[in-house]
């Protein structure tokens, strides 16, 4: 069973639909006990980093996710949920993240110098650094995924599994051991996205 952590940030309807479509058992929950008993955890999120991390901390769910990560449970952060996995974010101020992946989250506008558009919104192709990673079991280099974001992860080279080019290198998929993060929305990336979710669900404990 996959626990989708519901901490009050964003619409989980599509994500749950996509997992149901793959015949995966899911539960949308904020109950620490259910999260602890789940095989895998998905940390979703849309909105502002500061608000989200506050909600996660105040509800105690940040600690739960960190403990489960330390036990080796597979975790997938999506979009803002991916950004929350990093050490800190500079989205309207400075905020401390969960620190499960080395790196920080910064505004795209700091580094994009040309007049290309922000947010980075639409379909972009994935350049895969390590195709041998089991998350790419059903994915090809160059497959397109759907992004919507104005902030991006930086200084996370060690964790960089795949990226997209948008004047800057936009980390698409990152990983630290059992903790994965996707900046794009797999639940909105058509078959490519479904294949990534399927591969995540099939990850097996070492």
């Amino acid at each position: 069973m996959i626990a989708i952590v519901d901490y009050g940030c964003g619409n989980l309807y599509s994500l749950q639909c996509s997992l149901n479509f793959l015949n995966l058992e899911t539960v949308v929950t904020n109950d620490p006990e259910i999260i602890k008993s789940a095989d895998k955890i998905i940390l979703p999120g849309v909105g502002a980093f500061g608000d989200a991390v506050k909600l996660l901390n105040n509800s105690g769910l940040a600690e739960v996710v960190k403990k489960e990560a330390a036990k080796g449970k597979y975790i997938l952060g999506i979009c803002l949920g991916m950004q929350l996995l990093f050490e800190k974010s500079f989205e309207y101020g400075e905020h401390t993240g969960l620190g499960l992946i080395k790196g920080e989250v910064c505004p795209l506008s700091d580094d994009i110098k040309s007049d290309i558009k922000i947010p980075h919104m639409g379909w972009n192709s994935l350049c895969i650094n390590d195709i041998t990673d089991p998350i790419f079991k059903y994915t090809k280099n160059g497959d397109y995924v759907y992004y919507v974001h104005s902030f991006y992860a930086k200084n996370c080279d060690e964790a960089l599994l795949a990226y997209s080019d948008y004047e800057v290198t936009v980390p698409g998929l990152v990983k630290n051991k059992n903790v994965y993060g996707a900046q794009f929305h797999p639940e909105k990336s058509g078959d490519v996205g479904l294949n990534l979710l399927k591969a995540f669900a099939e990850l097996e404990d070492n």
């Binding site: 619409n11 309807y13 599509s14 639909c17 996509s18 149901n20 479509f21 849309v46 909105g47 007049d115 290309i116 558009k117 922000i118 947010p119 980075h120 919104m121 639409g122 379909w123 972009n124 192709s125 397109y144 759907y146 919507v148 080019d165 948008y166 639940e187 909105k188 990336s189 058509g190 078959d191 996205g193 479904l194």
Partner: protein, 251 residues
Amino acid sequence: MLAKRIIPCLDVRNGRVVKGVNFDGIKDVSSPIDLAKFYNQSGADELVFYDITASYENRSLFTDVLKTVASEIFIPLTVGGGINTLEDFDRVLKCGADKVSVNSGAIKNPALIGEAAKKYGDQCVVLSMDIKRVDGKFHIFSTGGRVDTGIDALQWAVNGEQSGAGELVVNSIDTDGVKNGFDLELLAEIQSRVKIPVIASGGAGKKEDFLELFKAGVADAGLAASVFHFKEINIKELKEYLKANEIEMRV
């Protein structure tokens, strides 16, 4: 790099698609779900559902359709038609919409864009504009393009971006239905004034019109309805054609 998007628009009335002809492999062309699946398989990058249901009572038919589509098709879904309040945003977002398009609702209450952007995020709010030339100026038209509001369209687009719209749909009444290409002049005027993505609508009649649009660099996406519904253009072939002509496409 980011791909240019091809977006079919489906008009839905009382839970059924309003126009369409037979497609190979679809039994019921007026079923929004069957048609959405067909477009998804053809490589549509996004789907727009426009609710033209006349009566309030039949609104639930539309949200039922939306729910079913969202449970089977996993690409971005935009919903428009009858969006006048934050409650309307809420109603369609809960049923699986990713973006909500406002048109007359923003003319009646310009604050709606800002309020929705604050509550749901900029990326969620699409400002759709019906524009027509009047005495050499671009005006915003309301009520399905029938009423001249007198509002300057170029300024309206800028105001929309400043209020928090995450995307603009520019529908040219002058080129709509003519099938002689998008309104490149209007699109260039808008594109030069905003940083948010611009979706071109109105005027597509053949594949070359989309190539001309993207070569001109005046839009991030091309939207059309009838040319797709009446099979005058096949989305898969269109995207392959554009890619062969060096337009970045998800194929």
